[in-house]
Structures are given as structure tokens and as C-alpha cells.
């Protein structure tokens, strides 16, 4: 980062700090009832308290666990199914339109069905998260596999590469930018659905924490939970960006 960029960044942090100060001021003057709006000081204290007692750690771990398992299951299944559909023209003609029809379906609508089948359980949450997160990955994989440069398949044929080698050495790397973009979208979906499932099923996690805090009007704990969810969203998306950056270094070279 060069000097001017650094100065801008600092100024930008100062502005954000200004907003937090304003929030503090509003809270101090009780312009909004403290039942709804704790000051940043109280929210911070609640965060510290939550972490030192270990409560928030376990809630955070719960949410991360739901998110990670659902997302990983969705990634593996989404890439595998997407690869099968995307690499065959026949499959694409028969299956892709149905998938396109299902794509705009609000995935949370599957929750009642999942509850009816699996009850208010951990398994239900994982199913819902995986079901929601699979779409962007699967559709991106189908697109990526369908868009592989045909010339590369000819190269593979002239080298007499095996079917497996073609998938792992040609198709998957070629589709990787699409797949990673799909996985990034899915990460957000997985976080949202984790929170929803925790709220609905009372599973250990930040979603349950914020709901309980709201029910008992502990607004400082509530805000601590929301802040932590924001941090989770931010950190996971930054981690994903770093992974993309590393894996797609060759694309940066292209520009």
C-alpha cells in the first residue's frame, strides 16, 4: 500500500470511529431507549464478558461449525454433480432447464419440509444449509465445465489422456474461477441459513444467542452477537478472497 492510500485508509477509519462516537452520543443522550439501543461501550463490554465467560466462544464455534459442515458438503456435492451435468451435453439438455427453474426458489422455503422430515435437529440444519449452499456452486460448476475451451479437449485427446486426467487436469482447473465464485456466494448463503436454523431449532449458535438476547431485552448481548456475526461474515469472505487470489494467480497474469 502506498502512502496516499494509507492516509486515505486512516481517514476512513477516523470516519468510522466518528460514527461510533455518534452512536455513543445518541445512546448517552438516550435519544433511543437503551432497551433497544445500547451504546458501543455496553456492546463492547458484553462482547468481552461473553468471551471471558466462554459463552460467546461456544456460540461462535456452533455457528462456524454449522456453516462449515453445510458449506463443505455443498461444495463437494455441488462440484461433483455440476461436473457430471456440465461435462455432458445430453445431461445439460435434460437437466439444466429444471435447475434453472429451481434456481430463483427462495431456498429457505425448504426449511418446513426439512423440519417435517428430520425434526428440529442438527441434521435438519445441515441439510438446509447444504441444500441452500449447493445451488450457486453447482450452477457455477455446470457453467464452468460447459465453457471449457474445446481446443483443450482436442489437446487432451491427442495426448490420449484418461477420462479422469481430463477432468482433473483440464476441466476442473479451467472451471475453477467459476467454481470459486460460486463457493464465495454460497458462503454468505450458508451463514444466513445457519442463523435461521439456529433461530428456528434452538441450536447452539449465534442465531440462538441473538434471539434469546432479544427475547429477554438484553440489548447489549444482542448487539454483541450481531457484531460477531458481521465479523464472521467479513472474515470468511476475506479468507475466501485470499484463497481465490492464491488459486487463481494465473488469472491475474492474464490481465
Amino acid at each position: 500500500m502506498n502512502r496516499t492510500a494509507l492516509v486515505w485508509r486512516l481517514a476512513s477509519f477516523a470516519v468510522a470511529a466518528g460514527f461510533i462516537a455518534l452512536w455513543q452520543l445518541i445512546a448517552n443522550l438516550k435519544l433511543v431507549s437503551p432497551v433497544f439501543l445500547p451504546g458501543p461501550d455496553r456492546a463492547w463490554a458484553a462482547l468481552v464478558r461473553g468471551f471471558s465467560s466462554g459463552d460467546l466462544w461456544s456460540k461462535l464455534a456452533g455457528t462456524l461449525e454449522h456453516m462449515a459442515y453445510g458449506w463443505l458438503a455443498a461444495s463437494i456435492a455441488g462440484i461433483a454433480i455440476g461436473a457430471i451435468i456440465g461435462s455432458s451435453r445430453t445431461m445439460r439438455t435434460y437437466v439444466a432447464p429444471s435447475l434453472e427453474f429451481l434456481r430463483p426458489l427462495p431456498v429457505s422455503a425448504i426449511i418446513p419440509v426439512a423440519i417435517a422430515m428430520l425434526g428440529l435437529t442438527q441434521a435438519m440444519a445441515l441439510f438446509v444449509i447444504a441444500f441452500g449452499a449447493i445451488w450457486p456452486i453447482m450452477l457455477a460448476t455446470i457453467h464452468g465445465f460447459a465453457a471449457v475451451e474445446p481446443r483443450l479437449y482436442e489437446v487432451a485427446r491427442s495426448l490420449q489422456m484418461s477420462r479422469l486426467a481430463v477432468i482433473f487436469k483440464i476441466a476442473l482447473p479451467s472451471a475453477s474461477p467459476d467454481i470459486l465464485a460460486g463457493m464465495r456466494l454460497s458462503l454468505t448463503v450458508a451463514l444466513i441459513l445457519s442463523v435461521v436454523c439456529e433461530i428456528l431449532a434452538g441450536l447452539d449458535g449465534l442465531g440462538h444467542w441473538v434471539l434469546l438476547s432479544a427475547r429477554s431485552f438484553r440489548s447489549a448481548d444482542l448487539f454483541a452477537g450481531v457484531i460477531l456475526l458481521g465479523v464472521t461474515g467479513y472474515v470468511t469472505s476475506v479468507a475466501m478472497s485470499l484463497a481465490e487470489h492464491r488459486l487463481l494467480a494465473w488469472q491475474a497474469a492474464q490481465q
Partner: protein, 254 residues
């Protein structure tokens, strides 16, 4: 093309027939599944007593109101950020800090501040809709042909007219793409809020059907929600193509 659309129907029709046959052969007794014929009957029933229409109205009202508010806020900030680079750079950290908060996490806050009902749902939908519009309209304004801005300066257009006559029309195709994305998000968030907690609309309807152990009605709601999502998407895609031509669709990936 007709051959291909016929092929497209093979899978869904096959699944439906298989489900129907299987359900009848096994005399299906389930809390979670129902034969397609019963789902269709339940859907007709829900139309006949107008319950599903009322629910649709509630959901769409919340979704569209939230969408409208979110779009206006997102557009205002997006355009301001796009025009005034200083403003954009100063707000960067603040925006980056708020954006990753999953919209649904605001649900408990909205709940204690506003209680159950339309208002809390609208607030959450609006929050979710702000971001795509803000990000894409900012990018759209920045990528406006500099020559156009020079023209505006040469004509000595006052700032308000510059926004109305140059910036918005030039950025409109990409702003519409953002609007389309946000509309999809609005519906998803509205239904999700209803399923999670808010006792109104389609989400509450499907939850009630589940709790009443009416899998036929529950799945009828699911199908209907799917149809609405699909129809909304088609409508906006067609509108986009009509308004801005096919070229606009290429700007889909932000």
C-alpha cells in the same frame, strides 16, 4: 429448439409421475411428502379460500416495499460514492464494516424495536437490498464514459441536472441489473423472515401447514413460492432485455 424444450420437460414430468406412482403404490402416509395430485388439489383449495392469495399479497407487499426503500438508499449512496471519490474513500471502512452483517442477524433487533408485522420485515428486506444496488451503481457511475462528463461540464449543467440527465441514464442498464438481483434477494429475505419468526405471508403459511401436519398444503406452498420466484425472475429478465437490449445482460457478473 422445440425438441430441446421437450427434453427439458422429461425430467420434471418423470419425477412427478414417479412420485405419484410411488405414493399410490405404497399408500403413502407421511408428514413430509404427498403425491403430486394431492399437492395440486391443496393448491387449488388454497386458491379457492383465498388464503394463499392473501399470503402472497402480504409477502409481496413487504418484499416490494423493502426493495423500493433499499433501492433508493442504495442508489443515493452508490451514485454519491461514484461521483465523489473523496466521500467514497472516507466511507470505505464504514461500508465494509456494515455490509458483511447477514441481513437475517438484524431480525432480533428489528423484532424488539418494531415488533412483529410488516415494518420489521420491510426494514430487514431493505437492509439486504441496499448492498447490490449500492455496489453496482457505484461501479456503473465510475465507468461512465469520461467524454460524457466532459460534455456535461462543457454544457455547464448544474449538478442536479448532471445526475438526472447524464449519470442516471448512462448508468441505468447496470443499475437495472442490480435492481434485478435485489428483487430476487427481497423475495428470499421476506420469505426467510416469515419462516423464521414473522407470522404473516407465504413463509408463515408454509410453516403453519407444516405444523398442522398437512404435507400436501406445505408442498403446495413450496411449489407456489417457487413459481413466484421464477415468475419474478422471468419478468425482470424480460423487462431488462426489452429496456436495454441483450447487451445489458452481459453486465450480469459484477
Amino acid at each position: 429448439m422445440t425438441g430441446n424444450s421437450a427434453k427439458a420437460l422429461v425430467l420434471p414430468l418423470g419425477v412427478l409421475v414417479a412420485l405419484e406412482v410411488w405414493a399410490r403404490a405404497t399408500h403413502l402416509q407421511s408428514d413430509s411428502l404427498a403425491p403430486p395430485s394431492e399437492i395440486v388439489m391443496a393448491l387449488f383449495g388454497a386458491f379457492a379460500d383465498l388464503s394463499i392469495l392473501a399470503a402472497t399479497r402480504d409477502t409481496l407487499f413487504s418484499a416490494f416495499t423493502g426493495l423500493a426503500i433499499g433501492t433508493i438508499i442504495g442508489l443515493a449512496f452508490g451514485i454519491a460514492f461514484g461521483i465523489f471519490d473523496t466521500f467514497n474513500r472516507l466511507m470505505e471502512v464504514t461500508v465494509e464494516a456494515i455490509r458483511p452483517i447477514p441481513s437475517i442477524a438484524l431480525l432480533p433487533i428489528a423484532l424488539i424495536a418494531l415488533g412483529f408485522g410488516y415494518r420489521m420485515e420491510i426494514v430487514i428486506v431493505a437492509f439486504a437490498c441496499v448492498w447490490p444496488v449500492l455496489i453496482l451503481s457505484r461501479a456503473a457511475v465510475r465507468s461512465i464514459e469520461p467524454r460524457l462528463m466532459e460534455v456535461a461540464r462543457a454544457l455547464r449543467l448544474p449538478p442536479a441536472q448532471r445526475v438526472w440527465k447524464i449519470i442516471i441514464p448512462a448508468a441505468l442498464p447496470r443499475i437495472f441489473v442490480a435492481f434485478r438481483l435485489s428483487a430476487g434477494i427481497a423475495l428470499i429475505v421476506a420469505v426467510t423472515v416469515e419462516i423464521a419468526i414473522n407470522p404473516l405471508g407465504l413463509g408463515a403459511g408454509i410453516m403453519l401447514a407444516q405444523q398442522a401436519l398437512r404435507p400436501d398444503l406445505m408442498l403446495a406452498y413450496l411449489v407456489w413460492i417457487g413459481i413466484i420466484g421464477y415468475a419474478l425472475n422471468i419478468l425482470l429478465t424480460v423487462a431488462q432485455r426489452r429496456l436495454f437490449g441483450r447487451a445489458a445482460l452481459s453486465g450480469d457478473s459484477p
